[in-house]
């Protein structure tokens, strides 16, 4: 019983300051660049932060209507509407700097990472031709900035803007979008845990 009590006390008291897990869920929009803007993307991320100073974060996102119609129109006959989607996965370093004061806890951060974009091109049910169902996976670099803000001791909001650069193998025979492309993504979400958990002003 004493051992259990000790474990609970240690677990209860040790959580906030040194190393923290964080999880976020967000909605995003590709606002500028070589892809379609205005379409909804949804993503999640999970991170581990050391001493409020540096974190490693894994991020996954699904985005509908990814490429602009005009940029992929020549892949299918004129009357066919080609649907494109993308799944984006990346691992990122996050460097936050938390400011705690009367206006609450704000943790601006910079981030950079590496990942892949798995894009799919689908025109199922094309009339007079075989259905079109292709994919390509491209190495992707990203970098950006954002801010986390604590609403409660455990929950916060997060705004993030980052630039993605996809490096396409232009000699590939299986890819459909045969040039490097880049875009800015802005996301807004809710975050649980993370560096905002540190001591807060009353």
């Amino acid at each position: 019983m004493r051992a259990m009590l000790a474990v609970v006390l240690v677990a209860d008291g040790a959580a906030p300051a040194r190393a923290q897990w964080a999880a976020s869920a967000y909605i995003d929009n590709n606002v500028a660049g070589d892809v379609q803007s205005g379409r909804v993307g949804l993503g999640v991320s999970a991170g581990y932060y050391l001493r409020d100073r540096i974190g490693l974060e894994l991020d996954a996102e699904l985005h509908g209507h990814f490429f602009r119609d005009a940029d992929v129109a020549d892949l299918v006959p004129t009357e066919v509407d080609l649907n494109t989607r993308a799944a984006i996965a990346s691992g990122n370093l996050v460097v936050p700097y938390c400011i705690r004061g009367a206006a609450g806890t704000w943790c601006p951060y910079a981030t950079a990472g590496l990942g892949v974009i798995h894009a799919s091109f689908d025109a199922a049910g094309m009339s007079g031709a075989e259905s079109f169902d292709r994919t390509q996976t491209d190495l992707t670099l990203n970098a950006g900035v954002g801010v986390m803000h604590a609403l409660t001791r455990w929950v916060g909001v997060r705004v993030d803007a980052r630039y993605f650069r996809a490096l396409v193998d232009e000699s590939s025979t299986s890819a459909d979008y045969l040039t490097d492309y880049g875009y800015w993504r802005v996301s807004v979400g809710i975050t649980f845990g993370g560096p905002q958990l540190g001591p807060t002003s009353p």
């Binding site: 009590l5 909605i27 929009n29 609450g104 609403l151 455990w154 807004v188």
Partner: protein, 194 residues
């Protein structure tokens, strides 16, 4: 074993059982304190209805619901809303989440605010139109400004919202919010009480 020895042993057993119960209670208290922290109980909740018109185009009216969540650790109020827009050609629903900031102005009973947020508009054309998307969702940004009037029971508000995105609507609206708690740390509008 004598009667005295039995009595002493029974008392010792009772004391041990009592001590065990106390430890269980201690453990329960510690676990509850660790799990339930005060933060989850703290948000101030205001809920209400709203309506207005879209100023661009055909002056389409809209109605919706408005939720305002205020937290002790932040000066921001989180404001999710849901609206239905009466449009002759399109079925339009809009879900927004804005962060409102009540301006620090020394006015009694009037709480002006500005806000920024994100919206998702779900649309469906009532007539099939070739060459365009009949249905879909579009994401955009909101810029809001308004004022809430801190009066007893219900708090009316007026606001104007500019949307940035594929649906670049400009809406003028008003509504009422009611507090779901009696917490005097917050005004009826959800602003921190001065």
């Amino acid at each position: 074993m004598t009667i005295l020895q039995r009595s002493v042993r029974a008392r010792a057993d009772g004391a041990w059982r009592h001590a065990k119960k106390l430890r269980r209670c201690e453990l329960l208290v510690v676990v509850l304190a660790g799990v339930s922290g005060p933060a989850w109980a703290d948000p101030a909740v205001r809920i209400g209805s709203r309506g207005g018109v879209e100023l661009r185009g055909d002056l389409d009216p809209y109605v919706g619901v408005d939720l305002r969540l205020s937290f002790p650790l932040t000066p921001l109020t989180i404001n999710p809303t849901f609206d239905y827009i009466f449009d002759a050609k399109t079925t339009l629903y809009q879900l927004s989440v804005n962060a409102l900031y009540y301006l620090p102005v020394p006015t009694r009973r009037v709480d002006p605010y500005v806000g920024i947020g994100v919206n998702v508009t779900s649309f469906s054309l009532k007539e099939n139109t070739p060459g365009v998307d009949d249905t879909g969702n579009r994401v955009g940004m909101n810029l809001a400004a308004g004022a809430c009037f801190d009066v007893p029971i219900v708090s009316p508000f007026v606001q104007i919202v500019k949307q940035i995105g594929e649906f670049d609507l400009l809406s003028l609206g008003a509504g009422l919010v009611v507090a779901l708690d009696g917490d005097d740390r917050w005004t009826g509008c959800g602003r921190r009480a001065r």
